[in-house]
């Protein structure tokens, strides 16, 4: 019996230059055939089979039209998408604005599908020729960015689906660049949709997605694109094959979330003291093996969002370790150094608990380094490592003193700051909230966010962004430390034009709509 080995199957990855081996979808350990784009258990590549109206580059917020060719916001409460013509579903049916409306109606009927919460933003929706006009519940400029992410499904097939929440959509029909090829529990393929409206931009004829993508597999099996944190990437991935490259841009900010409902964290001076006490370079180095940079206090992802950076912030928001400054901040907050301990007015040494999810090793290393550094300013930090689900719960319920957390990275300035600072998410400790976990509340900031929500004036938007950065810098509602990397591993052997620091047109993420950007931009090598 001729038993094929792993390699037999996998090195097809581009021998002819048009087939791509992709580590984008992990079976656990095998694949379920679920291509329902709204299902949490969907195959990751469902977003290559279906398309949204627009795709946002989460790194800098740049938007690329997909199923909509244009959008317009005549007033802050209305969004008009002009739907692309000459698009067909992969079964040959024509794609129409009615499909778009059908999709939104579907989400309204089944809130479980509405993972982006669009119906919290939309009042009504109507078709006007090739346009889809959306009336919002109020003035809301950033709403468009959320609404346009909605994945559009074909009315002619989905209208008959009885329960779309449990529908597994085994034979997906979409408008996207790829259609499902062969599906087996250990591996499946996507074939290029030759009728795709921009088929000329799609270089890879076939995508191969194995279920097992251990780091060992990734290094050995000649992947073209993988998303994985690789320890010692130069000696592993890069050394493994000619043409292997990597790009680890920041995808979010890892920060200390202080529980602002309790002392001493309710005192900004104390938070600033913590901020000054940290050597962020060292933390970033320890946590992510030096593959990411330290984060400043502006709340922006740099260099991605450089364009929005408030030029008035000292050092571009970066805060260097300054123990003396830290001590004076602490003093302002009522804490003094006594020997090598930081004590309150009653002389009680300060002891804090830092929560970090168990098993998230980079965070843990960062947290351990924070522990060490805070010990140097006389604060005793105990690590609390709940399991991820419990961590999530503690974070949401405000059940922590100091917690590791992340924010940002949606590509939308408004979204990033709103989730972090808006009191609309404010809940008492013990009640679940979905954002603003540190429970920050400031009327001025709320006003800024409200204005940012309604203004169409781009200059004003930028001004508000500056002001929000100042709030972040001066109030320190969270203490940013380092960037969470996006761990893109690429091979130039078969395809070129991968996103990179020089050409950051997309993030290296293999999920959501991002691969649409990547796969319509790369070119066959040679």
């Amino acid at each position: 019996v001729d038993v094929p080995t792993e390699d037999d199957n996998n090195d097809g990855g581009g021998a002819d230059g048009t087939s791509m081996l992709l580590a984008a979808d992990n079976g656990s350990p095998t694949f379920d055939r679920n291509f329902n784009p709204y299902s949490p258990g969907k195959r990751t590549t469902t977003t290559l089979i279906y398309e949204p109206l627009f795709v946002t580059n989460t790194l800098d917020g740049t938007e690329t039209p997909f199923l909509a060719s244009e959008k317009e916001q005549p007033d802050p409460a209305t969004v008009i998408f002009t739907i692309r013509e000459d698009v067909t579903w992969s079964d040959g049916e024509e794609f129409t604005p009615d499909d778009v409306v059908f999709t939104f109606d579907l989400l309204k009927e089944f809130p479980a599908l509405d993972t982006n919460g669009v119906w919290a933003l939309i009042e009504s929706i109507e078709v006007d020729g090739q346009d889809v006009v959306i009336h919002l519940t109020g003035d809301n400029v950033p709403a468009a960015a959320i609404i346009q992410k909605t994945i559009i499904v074909p009315e002619h097939l989905w209208a008959d689906v009885e329960d779309p929440t449990t529908f597994t959509n085994e034979d997906p029909v979409g408008t996207g660049p790829y259609a499902l090829g062969e599906f087996t529990p250990n591996e499946y393929t996507l074939e290029r949709n030759e009728d795709y409206w921009q088929v000329e931009n799609v270089a890879a004829q076939e995508l191969i997605l194995p279920a097992s993508n251990t780091q060992l597999d990734v290094v050995n099996n000649g992947y073209d694109w993988a998303y994985a944190f690789m320890s010692d990437v130069e000696n592993t991935w890069v050394a493994a094959a000619e043409g292997n490259t990597f790009w680890f841009p920041p995808g979010g900010t890892i920060a200390l979330f202080p529980n602002l409902t309790m002392a001493p964290f309710d005192n900004p001076e104390f938070r600033l003291g913590l901020s000054a006490a940290l050597d962020r370079e060292r933390i970033a180095e320890v946590a992510e093996e030096g593959y990411v940079d330290a984060a400043g206090m502006s709340g922006l992802l740099l260099p991605n969002q450089e364009a929005f950076l408030n030029p008035d912030l000292p050092d571009g928001g970066a805060v260097a370790q300054d123990v003396d400054a830290a001590v004076s901040h602490f003093e302002a907050a009522g804490y003094t150094m006594s020997g090598d301990q930081l004590v309150d007015s009653a002389g009680t040494p300060l002891a804090l608990t830092l929560t970090t999810p168990n098993g998230w090793t980079d965070w843990l290393r960062g947290a351990t380094e924070v522990q060490t550094q805070l010990a140097a300013v006389g604060i005793e930090v105990t690590l609390n490592q709940p399991q991820p689900a419990a961590y999530q719960q503690e974070l949401q319920n405000g059940n922590f003193q100091l917690s590791m957390g992340s924010f940002g990275g949606t590509g939308s300035i408004y979204e990033d700051y709103n989730r972090l600072l808006s009191s609309e998410f404010l809940q008492p400790v013990g009640t679940t909230t979905t954002a603003n976990f540190q429970r920050y509340s400031d009327p001025d900031t709320d006003a800024l966010l409200a204005e940012l929500r309604v203004t169409l004036d781009e200059d004003r938007q930028l001004e508000i962004a500056y002001e929000l950065q100042t709030v972040m810098f001066e109030q320190a509602p969270v203490i940013s430390m380092f960037y969470g990397g996006l761990w893109g591993l690429f091979s130039e052997a078969n395809f070129t034009g991968w996103p990179s620091a020089e050409d950051p047109y997309a993030s290296p993420a293999t999920w959501d709509a991002n691969p649409l950007l990547v796969l319509t931009n790369i070119e066959a090598a040679g």
Binding site: V1, D2, P4, T5, E6, D8, N9, G27, S28, P29, T30, D32, S39, P40, G41, P111, A112, L113, D114, T115, N116, G117, A120, I146, T165, T166, F167, E182, T184, P185, N186, E187, A211, S212, T214, L216, D217, N220, G251, P357, W360, P386, Q387, P388, A389, A390, Y391, Q392, Q393, E394, S406, F407, G408, T410, D416, F425, T432, T434, G484, A509
Partner: protein, 326 residues
């Protein structure tokens, strides 16, 4: 009759308690299935506040009075209605279990049996040849290998035989493009993939059987019927097997029963290291994702099968040991 009724009563009580524990223990874990799902999403980047509500609505995580939930749960268990998995939404738990079960049953089951048979034989040999090389070799090797952590053995095999020498595939239960079927070719492929996980389990579990059998066999070797058989000039082989080993194996059967019952639980660490799509991996997924329905079904299955296996061993015991018969 009263005895049997009592025994059955106790069995059912144990089952009920295990099932109840299955219900309450996971729910004591901090965090909900939704939290687990969000925590998983959060590893890839920011999660939109709307997602939580959507996931909650979609999974249909039960809320409300825990006692009502418990009663419903008991009813479901009785009717073998295990519901839908949270982790693998919207797959039904029964489907998931039925897909994973054959892999585990065949791979872990076969190894368990092989380990028992081989270990027992080696134990017999060691006891019979006590104090010689044929004793110390299996005994010492067994002592050492049974002290290996499962996952470590798995990693070493993976590294040397899979990665360095590339003799065996390093993950999965069959080749990438294969779809499970019953063709010879597929079976050969599956067997090839099962080698490393199977060898791992074999290496680490063999020692226990060797030592156990050796100990009991040394005891029976001193029994009078063995001496008498020798005095009657039976061939050494007959004395060793039909007299000493035949009696020594009985106490070890209990352990074998538990082991066989445990087979349906798979071999969590090994399956995880080798990405083997068996029940152990499923169990790992269930437990780490707080997938109550899946966890409950698996725990129930394991509990029942251990109980049943024990029962079968009891019956078998009666057959093998006439003293308990009549």
């Amino acid at each position: 009759m009263r005895y049997v009724l009592r025994k059955i009563g106790l069995l059912l009580l144990t089952l009920w308690a295990a099932v109840t524990l299955n219900f309450f223990l996971p729910r004591m874990m901090p965090g909900s299935p939704t939290d687990a799902a969000i925590a998983k999403l959060a590893q890839n980047g920011p999660v939109s506040p709307a997602t939580r509500a959507a996931i909650e609505a979609q999974l249909g995580v039960p809320t409300g009075n825990i006692w009502d939930q418990y009663v419903t749960y008991l009813g479901n268990m009785l009717t073998l209605d295990f519901g839908v998995s949270y982790t693998f939404f919207p797959q039904s738990v029964s489907d998931l279990v039925l897909t994973a079960l054959p892999w585990t049953l065949v791979m872990v089951g076969v190894v368990t049996i092989v380990a028992f048979v081989l270990g027992t034989l080696l134990g017999v040999l060691a006891a019979w040849k006590r104090g010689t090389f044929l004793d110390s070799l299996p005994t010492l090797t067994g002592t050492f290998t049974s002290a290996f952590p499962y996952f470590w053995t798995a990693l070493l095999l993976l590294f040397f035989l899979g990665y360095v020498l590339q003799w065996f595939p390093t993950s999965g239960a069959y080749s990438a493009r294969a779809t499970p079927n019953l063709s010879l070719e597929f079976i050969a492929d599956a067997a090839y993939h099962a080698v490393l996980p199977a060898v791992t389990i074999l290496i680490t579990s063999l020692g226990g059987w060797i030592l156990g059998m050796r100990n009991t066999m040394i005891n029976t070797l001193g029994d009078d019927y063995v001496t008498f058989a020798e005095a009657n000039g039976l061939q050494p082989k007959a004395v060793a097997l039909k007299y000493a080993a035949r009696n020594a194996i009985l106490p070890n059967l209990t352990g074998f029963g538990l082991a066989l019952g445990g087979v349906v639980g798979g071999s969590l660490l090994v399956e995880r290291v080798f990405n083997y799509p068996g029940v152990g991996y499923l169990l790992y997924n269930a437990v780490t994702n707080q997938d109550f329905p899946l966890m409950q079904a698996l725990f129930l299955m394991i509990t029942v099968s251990v109980l049943v296996a024990n029962f079968i061993v009891d019956v078998l015991y009666g057959y093998l040991d006439p003293r308990t018969r009549r």
